[in-house]
Subunit: 533 residues, 2 copies
């Protein structure tokens, strides 16, 4: 049976950037675009060129391989010709495959916010779409406040949409801008619009203000729309946009949709979804939502109780899908037995075969629980977990011993009278009986400490020459500067491997040192280096 194509449009980098507390640096945008591209999203909306320096730079070249790279912006202003509108000019200059214009389609908003006539607004839509088409771009029109506008004045809302469609816009995007529309209203209105504009040219842009953005998106698809706009993990202005991370598995795994539609995401990418969702949270420095559908750490976690017997007989009786399809895993918190089974599986994955009745497992489990209760996060720091496990189940070589360190940050006026800050670290360590003393400057206390520690690790120098810190994250676990600090470090080497380590302390320098230390030891262990005699 042939299926219809349903398209996904991601606006994480545009509407998602409206999230309170989220702002993307250029590097963040590049990484998100790569993630979305690899996932198989059809359209990546990268931002609003001209609105701020980051977005303008981002659109200086095409940033996706397969996804349609899309620039967002307003239709031309009324009373200005297409060629004299700097905003439109900026959009056409952007290196984008497609342009998504936003225009008001509610007569009330046209009057109130723009202060122009209804016909002027329609004309502005028509001319903007035409100009973008003439410039060789695929065109989308975000119909702002479409549902509210349609309820008040269906003819006008439709006239705006129709003008864009007739001028050659590929997609007419019906936006529930305020997020207050209910699924049955969305379904009814989209069905009506689809009698004028074909459904395979209609898109839905829903917000989560009644916690129904996902339901609204699916209601629109049922009524004929063939594109969904949404964001990773549902970020977005106010309560967020439709959550693509929830929608993708539903579209691919629920027969009501998977029997009818193909989307651009394949099963391998779907199996990477949990990882992508967590990586994205890391990137925007949000704590992952444990209860997130499909990808949350608790999404397939059962506290058993009355379910225990059925779960023991057939786990699928309490799961609506197989968690491995989305790269997640089952967890049953029935007893310590379940925890132990998990642990054994985890150890096996890292090449440590341990019998399930090995008494050392209890000790490791206890240690992990204790450490996690004070702030360690081993789920996010596999390398530190491996060192801990190897230490308890066997041994980890003592490669070196840091006797002491001192970090100094000084801000003062230099000879020219300018304020400068200098960071310096001194590390004293013993390697194979030899006492070493190193000093280094850095652009901050942790950077200086990292440099000093790695500067002269004697016999190990070659083995760690290609070690690089690629990310450093700090989370304060309670309030105030006196609280406990957790540092997560991501390291990588020339062979493309990367690993995560963790440190926890009241003192950020101590916590950083612990994570740096773990990273170096892990690298030496993996290289199979023998400890210096």
């Amino acid at each position: 049976m042939s299926k219809e194509r349903l398209y996904l449009f991601d606006t994480t980098l545009r509407d998602g950037a409206q999230t309170n507390g989220v702002d993307f640096a250029l590097e963040d945008k590049l990484e998100v675009a790569r993630m979305l591209d690899a996932l198989g999203i059809d359209y990546v909306e990268g931002g609003y060129p001209g609105a701020n320096p980051t977005d303008t730079t981002f659109f200086s070249k095409k940033r996706t391989r397969s996804a349609t790279f899309t620039a967002f912006g307003m239709t031309k202003r009324a009373g200005v010709s297409v060629s004299n509108d700097p905003g439109l000019r900026g959009l056409l200059d952007a290196e984008a495959d497609a342009i998504c214009f936003v225009a008001k389609t509610s007569d009330y908003h046209v009057k109130l916010a723009l202060g122009i006539s209804e016909e002027e607004n329609v004309e502005s839509i028509r001319q903007s779409v035409t100009a973008a088409r003439d410039a060789g771009r695929e065109v989308l029109l975000d119909c702002e406040h479409f549902f509210d506008g349609y309820k008040a004045n269906p003819d006008y809302a439709l006239a705006c949409a129709k003008a864009a469609y007739d001028a050659g816009a590929r997609w007419i995007v019906l936006c529930d801008t305020n997020g207050g529309t209910l699924p049955e209203e969305v379904e009814a209105i989209v069905a009506e619009v689809a009698t004028t504009i074909p459904g395979d040219h209609l898109s839905i842009h829903a917000h989560n203000d009644t916690e129904q953005a996902v339901a609204n998106s699916l209601a629109a698809v049922r009524a004929g729309a063939r594109q969904i706009q949404g964001t990773l993990n549902g970020i977005g202005e106010r309560c967020g946009n439709a959550n693509l991370t929830s929608l993708i598995p539903t579209l691919m795994l629920k027969p009501a949709f998977s029997d009818a539609f193909d989307i651009g995401v394949d099963v391998d990418s779907l199996a990477d979804l949990s990882r992508i969702a967590h990586r994205f949270d890391e990137l925007v420095n949000r704590s992952p939502n444990r209860q997130a559908p499909y990808v949350g750490a608790s999404a397939f976690t059962t506290k058993a109780g009355i379910h225990a017997s059925a779960i023991a007989k057939d786990p699928r009786t309490y799961e609506h899908i197989d968690p491995t399809h989305v790269g997640n895993r089952r967890q049953v918190l029935v007893s310590d037995q379940a925890g132990k089974a998990n642990l054994v599986a985890e150890l096996e994955r890292m090449g440590l075969a341990v019998a399930r009745d090995d008494s050392r497992l209890e000790g490791l489990l206890r240690e992990v629980k204790e450490r996690e209760s004070v702030g360690y996060a081993y789920e996010a720091a596999g390398a530190s977990f491996e060192l801990l496990a190897r230490g308890i189940l066997g041994s980890v070589p003592e490669y070196f011993d840091v006797d002491s360190f001192k970090v100094e940050v000084e801000r003062r006026h230099n000879a020219l009278g300018n304020l400068v800050t200098v960071s310096e670290a001194v590390v004293k360590l013993t390697v194979g009986g030899e006492r070493l003393l190193t000093v280094a400057e850095g652009n901050g206390p942790v950077n200086a400490l990292d440099k000093a520690l790695r500067k002269d690790l004697g016999v190990y120098r070659d083995a760690i020459a290609d070690l690089e810190l690629i990310d450093y994250k700090v989370r304060i676990l309670n309030g105030g500067t006196g609280a406990v600090t957790r540092v997560l470090i991501e390291s990588a080497d020339a062979s493309g491997n990367s690993w995560f380590t963790v440190g926890v302390s009241e003192n950020i320098v101590d916590a950083s040192f612990e994570a740096l230390n773990d990273s170096i030891v892990y690298k030496l262990l993996r290289e199979g280096v023998e400890p210096a005699a």
Copy 2:
């Protein structure tokens, strides 16, 4: 026009207790029951008496005034008489107004988990309901796996439900236990069931595994169900239960429901909803979800430049409801997304009246955008924004001048041979011509710097005596330890005010210093302190 009554059933203390990471003490249960009672919830399910000591104690007396206090438990086991089943006995002994039995209604589960015949299961339902009715209790039956069971074998699922209804159960609760059912399936199945059991005896119990628990609940109501089961803030096993905190405002404020139904919550309680939601998060020690519909801190927060001008003209243009109805408030954020209208509105709120064509606005806007492009986040740091704005539009007093500072962190072995880390800061500053030199120790470099800076601010000491740092957040804006660091500090004082400041630098100590400095200056400014001569 007379409306139909729609009932709310809260299972926060029962299904909510299955949430990974949530554990209610007796005191917690008492407080939650009081909150729900005051809110106007019809049924409060308090737990499973007999399953654990806390729940048994909780049911030693009635814990609600107006809500129907409900005990949860299993129907009697097959092969045991009603009077010989200790579980059922415990339920009947509980001081509850109502008993909510759970029973399997899917033939597969009856076979797999219970290993009894289909008829034995129906008989057990019938006898349990009858026994509870005879004991004077109102009775509900949670039909476990109802939707999956109905899809596989509608006759059997319906037979179980019908047996309870015929035996006098007030409510037949259709449970989507695995949470995988879609709204259109819920609507169709509930409508079919309602041809056998009247809708005003049908209840819906939905889970959020496809992010559609709210939509599924409302779909059931549209199909005739007249009771909704859910939890505060949507807590619950795996991805959570239907979120009553989202459902209540939708039912009361959206005409599609408010024109047709009355619920037990009144407008005054609705206006208390945001407070209740936050109080509940505190109680279970979760960070409130800023993006939560209706009650989240960001639910009515706009950052968009293109939206801000319309909001200034008529706030309702970007709000689906008036935030005060749910005890929330509107917020317009300043950020690099901001337009001038946004800025002027924000300045007005802080008491700085500036004409829209004032040329200094351009300068301020440019400065904000430039600073945000290197990492400042003024939307999250209103106090730093106010200082920046006052500096550009007028002036900020020079209260003090920090000439230099030095921070030292040293880890070494103490006299006992233990590793200890000591942090110390020295600050040199000038206040009103007087040169001051202070030193302090802290449990980290930033804590030491904060203490040293505030230790002896001479004449200002009294004015800042009640200043307290209550949160400290660090974000690394690029990868690696050499990247730019953004520090956000939340401060508060004895009068209950709190404010946010930001600092950005390659060096975490410098960034922290900047945010600390802003916090003190802001406090002095707000206290109306005159700078020392």
